[in-house]
Amino acid sequence: MTTRIFIGGLLFVAIFITVGYVLVNEGLLLVQEQDESGRMQAFAAGQDGRSIENGADMFTQYCAACHGDDGEGVPGKGPQLNPYLFTTRYPELKAANYPNSLRNFVKIAIAGGRPDYTAYWATKGETYAAPMQTWGDQFGGPLRGDQIESLTDYIMGWEAEAGQPVEIVEFTAIGNDVDQELPAGDAARGKQLWDKMTLYASAKTAPCSACHSLEPGQTLVGPSLASIGTRGAETVSGQDAYTYIRHAIQLPSEHIVSGFETADGRSLMPEGLGNDMSAQDLADLIEFLLTQQ
């Protein structure tokens, strides 16, 4: 009996000490709440971390095709999120007395989509190939509420980056100057640009493959560029393939392929693509496209 009482007492003390140790580390003390050193705070951060990971995964899977891998936007397909959303778009909304928070603005855009996509962006001079689809399942889309939350968490993660000073890359854009002489082009580098294995002089990626496929008959957003090296010479009289391709990139609304124009008669292919590339970049791209026979 005495042994039992002794062992029982020991166990009682051991249980109390263990539970006490757990409680002390839980995160209930004020100092732990403030510097987030408790276990509960670690798990709260852990949940956020997992949510952001899932959001990043889903963004790459569903959103990057139009908004870019890093939210930098794809001309003609999806507007820039990172950092435009934080530096310009939301401050503009706030200035116009938009009553909701930035996080909710992002969530609404994802869940509800953007059926009326032309009104705002047309005033900015940008066109997009298609409206943003509805993603939230409460509105008939494919994603659950928690998936929308994860995506929002991930996108909000760019807010910190938005506050950072932007690296200015010095380069000379070719713009829409079709008369400037271009240097000799390197088709191999053009292919690397196309495959996004290398960057423009402006440190941006070439967005061409987001809208154009090189497979015959495959229309992504714009027409297939299979055998453009030969077809380009036969499309506009007076222009050989080289000139045709160059004009198509720098002045897309000059000649619009039938079926690829917007309601107000412009090309679906966005203007201003030349602003991101240097003369060499343009020359390399054209040389690569000329190899598509």
């Binding site: 263990t18 509960m40 993660g157 760019w158």
Partner: protein
């Protein structure tokens, strides 16, 4: 003493102090159903029982203690031969109720909030992690202890006449325990829960005849798939119907045990006789205080083991939220159902998933009634013992067959990709087990790792080396599909930063390159995964 009309009269007669003492004594006597303070004191001090013995009164006149006999045979109070497994199972059930009540307060059985509630319990409820881990651990221990208890009962032949019905209630309790564990498994509503339970529920569909199977499946799941209806049904089964069943049958079970007396160790009785009820006075161990303190001590030991294990060594898993559209590779049933999953790999779902397990259950129920051997001694029951150990061996082998190592391998590149970048629980080869700071941005070729990396980032080096080892494993000439000349290019990139400008999210991309079996065609597989600095994973 003459009856008093009021407390006031007592006070006048005896004074305030003595009145309180008398009333206190009466209260203790009422609570214990017949033992006053002196009797209780005598029990605690270890005094020999007085005559007449007030210590039997809680058993004869009280409701609660009526369940227990007032004395036990000394042979059944030792560890051998029962190993106290029945008591251990009951204690674990009690612990499950207590921790379960705690968790119930913070949990709602709806797919919209259940998973979030799990994180809330872990991150916003003090001692939430401890309670959840104890609940999970005690559930696993309970399955083990109930199964061992049944095995012990079988081996000592305690199911024989007159205890056949007791064994029957015991088999039902085992079934309830397994079902409780199964229904509870779904409640976290994560990938592990959802898919493991879906496998099990699909077996119900296979019950013959077809209409019965389909109807049963719909009844269990609340629909064609497990959704909001299914979760609610599993929850109600888990917190209400099944615990009620267990409590009811536990009372019947234990009542029958006491009614016939705890069966004595084999060899004490002559074959065919049962002297358990007639306990000679010199072999009696009174419940109060000896057996009661022993049971309390076991309660303390089990609680202490669970608390210490959950605080330092064991954490229940939590994967990503259940995604009905996305089945993870290598989905397995909970370990106590691996043997059924193994059986399903043998052939027809109806035969191996429904008919055989039901037949086994029925065999256990029928066994005590058809067993004609009156002896409980092992040497007279060689066949029974051999059959038992053989069955246990078969279950172990079937359990190995139930694991994903047997017969469900995907293509080698998929397996390698899975090991390196698991979407759910992290394995030993997983890149995300590398500490975040050690994931140095850069591009690495697993076939040509720089030696400097071994010192700079030993964990990362180990994982990349492990990846190459995995690839080499699949270069075995005996395999039909191989990863000849295989290697992986792994790129780690900083992806997002926090307010302080420090990287808190990294992207890890992997391209697996190898030559096809024809020896000429190059092949490749690419995948990526993100790692957040604060993320908490379940690691196997």
């Amino acid at each position: 003493m003459e009856p008093f009309n009021t407390l006031n009269d007592m006070r006048k007669q005896y004074g305030v102090g003595r009145t309180i003492a008398i009333k206190l004594n009466e209260t203790v006597e009422r609570i214990t159903s017949g033992m006053d303070i002196n009797a209780v004191r005598g029990v605690l001090r270890g005094d020999p029982a007085p005559k007449p013995n007030p210590r039997v009164k809680p058993h004869t006149e009280g409701a609660w203690f009526h369940v227990w006999p007032s004395f036990y045979h000394v042979e059944v109070t030792k560890i051998f031969p029962t190993f106290r497994l029945g008591l251990i199972s009951t204690v674990l059930f009690l612990i499950e109720i207590i921790t379960g009540l705690f968790l119930m307060v913070w949990y709602t059985p709806s797919p919209l909030v259940a998973y979030n509630d799990m994180w809330r319990i872990l991150s916003n409820v003090p001692l939430g992690l401890l309670m959840r881990d104890i609940h999970r651990l005690a559930a696993e221990f309970m399955v083990i202890s109930v199964a061992l208890h049944m095995w012990r009962t079988y081996l000592t032949g305690s199911y024989k006449k007159p205890r056949q019905f007791t064994y029957f209630t015991g088999v039902l309790l085992l079934f309830f325990t397994l079902f409780l564990s199964y229904t509870g498994y779904l409640l976290p509503w994560d990938q592990l829960a959802y898919w493991a339970v879906t496998i099990g529920a699909s077996m119900v569909d296979a019950a013959p005849p077809k209409e019965v199977g389909e109807a049963s499946g719909l009844l269990l799941r609340g629909g064609l798939e497990i959704g909001a209806n299914g979760l609610l049904r599993f929850y109600l089964l888990h917190v209400f119907a099944l615990p009620l069943g267990v409590i009811l049958f536990l009372f019947v079970h234990y009542y029958k045990v006491v009614r016939h007396g705890h069966s004595l160790p084999p060899g004490f009785d002559a074959p065919g006789e049962d002297a358990a009820r007639k306990v000679p006075p010199d072999k009696r161990v009174p419940f109060l205080p000896d057996v009661a303190t022993s049971e309390l001590l076991w309660f303390g030991i089990i609680t202490a083991v669970l608390v210490v294990m959950s605080a330092f060594f064991y954490h229940a898993p939590l994967e990503n939220q259940a995604d009905p559209l996305n089945t993870p590779l290598h989905t397995v049933a909970p370990w106590y159902f691996l043997w059924i999953q193994g059986m399903l790999k043998l052939g027809d779902k109806t035969l191996w998933g429904v008919i055989v397990p039901t037949a086994l259950l029925l065999a256990h129920i029928v066994l005590p009634y058809v067993d004609y051997n009156p002896s409980r001694l092992a040497r007279n029951r060689r066949f029974a013992w051999s059959l038992s150990f053989f069955s246990v061996g078969v279950i172990v082998i079937l359990s190995f067959m139930g694991t994903s190592a047997y017969l469900v391998r995907a293509a080698p590149e998929t397996e390698v990709n899975f090991e390196f970048m698991r979407p759910e629980r992290l394995g030993e080869h997983d890149i995300r087990t590398v500490p975040f700071e050690e994931m140095i941005p850069g591009t690495y070729d697993t076939a040509a790792l720089p030696e400097s990396l071994r010192n700079e980032a030993p964990d990362l080096y180990e994982k990349l080396e492990g990846l190459q080892d995995l690839i080499v494993y699949y270069q075995n000439p005996a395999l039909e599909h191989r990863l000849d000349q295989g290697r992986a290019i792994v790129t780690i990139a900083d992806w997002q930063i926090d307010e302080e400008g420090l990287t808190n999210l990294k992207k890890i991309s992997m391209t697996l390159e190898w030559i096809d079996e024809d020896g000429v065609t190059p092949a490749a597989l690419s995948d990526y995964v993100f790692a957040h600095r604060d993320a908490i994973y379940t690691v196997e």
